[in-house]
């Protein structure tokens, strides 16, 4: 083995061992800090943020009767501006029905099935995204506050394991970009810290609104890894870890991202 190859293999070996720790709490920044000023302005102006069209659809659905009980969300929960304030900041959350955490989309479907006696909505369907965006909008500006008690901890830990696990043909972990190299450039874009405070997001690349699970599956395809299916427990664990990691940061839903 040549000297250069030895040096390279040593550097690679060191890289696999050395990994920066979690981002210190006071150095965490919203992903909005890593987007262009134009995109940020679009996000913060309700008359320019295209996700607000979906939020309005969600408001209509909130008041639409559904299922065998012929009840709307509003019939039980009343005014979402009051009853749903802060809710999205607390999800994923443990659901006794499943014996594990579920995310906001799954909670909406749980309520549809058990309370409204309606069919669950498909992941990434317009209706489910609209309801999720409308509910999440009610938490804008509120601090992320998912539970991290003993019941939740194993799932947060499982999410962390996926976040730190190298995967795919590129042999990358989420942490290598978002913990170790945030603020640097990947192609033309700044690598954000992956603080999932703005979901569902309007992504300019998608030209539509999408969920955090869709975004995570995107990242996994980018790493040439096999993405988990929508609703997979692994994805929810990862969502839980990301929200715990963003604890205390302000909710921005629905955010606009490049």
């Amino acid at each position: 083995m040549s000297r250069a190859a030895l040096v390279i293999s040593f550097v690679l070996a060191a890289a696999t061992v050395a990994r920066a720790a979690d981002i210190p709490l006071d150095q965490r920044r919203s992903d909005s800090d890593f987007i262009s000023a134009d995109t940020r302005a679009m996000q913060n102006d309700d008359s320019a943020n295209p996700a607000m069209l979906v939020v309005l659809d969600g408001e209509t659905l909130w008041n639409t009767k559904a299922g065998k009980t012929h009840q709307s969300c509003a019939d039980c929960h009343g005014d979402a501006a009051k009853s749903m304030k802060g809710v999205a900041a607390r999800y994923p959350a443990f659901a006794a029905e499943f014996g594990r955490p579920i995310d906001l989309e799954q909670q909406i479907n749980l309520s549809r099935v058990t309370d409204q006696k309606a069919e669950p909505l498909a992941f990434e369907s317009k209706e489910l995204l609209a309801l999720t965006a409308y509910i999440a909008r009610q938490s804008r500006g509120m601090p992320v506050a998912v539970k991290d008690d003993a019941q939740a901890q194993p799932f947060i830990d499982a999410g962390r394991a996926i976040f730190e696990q190298r995967q795919g043909q590129l042999d990358l972990s989420c942490a290598q970009c978002h913990d170790d190299n945030w603020g640097k450039k990947l192609a033309g874009n700044l690598v954000p810290q992956a603080m999932a405070t703005g979901y569902p997001i309007y992504r300019l690349e998608w030209q539509e609104v999408g969920s955090l699970q869709r975004r995570l599956r995107n990242c996994m395809s980018g790493m040439r890894a096999e993405p988990y299916d929508f609703g997979a427990p692994e994805l929810v664990d990862l969502e839980y870890f990301l929200m715990w990691r963003a604890r205390g940061l302000a909710m921005e839903s629905p955010a606009v991202r490049p």
């Binding site: 679009m42 102006d45 309700d46 320019a48 295209p50 069209l53 309005l56 659809d57 300019l204 030209q207």
Partner: protein, 106 residues
Amino acid sequence: MARALIHVPATAKKGEIIEIKTLISHVMETGYRIGVTGVPIPRDIIDDFVCTYNGEEVFHATLYPAIAANPYITFFTVATESGTLAFSWTDQHGATQVQTAAIAVE
């Protein structure tokens, strides 16, 4: 009917330059994309947008396939008199959606 968001100042001074913002939900499908089955997705776009101020045309735009989904069109006009601003979007099939906003000019 597509969902539209319009922002017009409720009041303005006579002669003031006012900013108007409009956003409408539309897929703006270019016609150049191929679907999962290998068949091209047909073009479906809004191709015309007009704003009239008390019946007088103050802004007109022709849209093409390069415009992104959910077209956001913003422009300025001069507040001349109290009345109604009417916005109309017409798609390539000829279907038109009209929405109005009132303005009070002092």
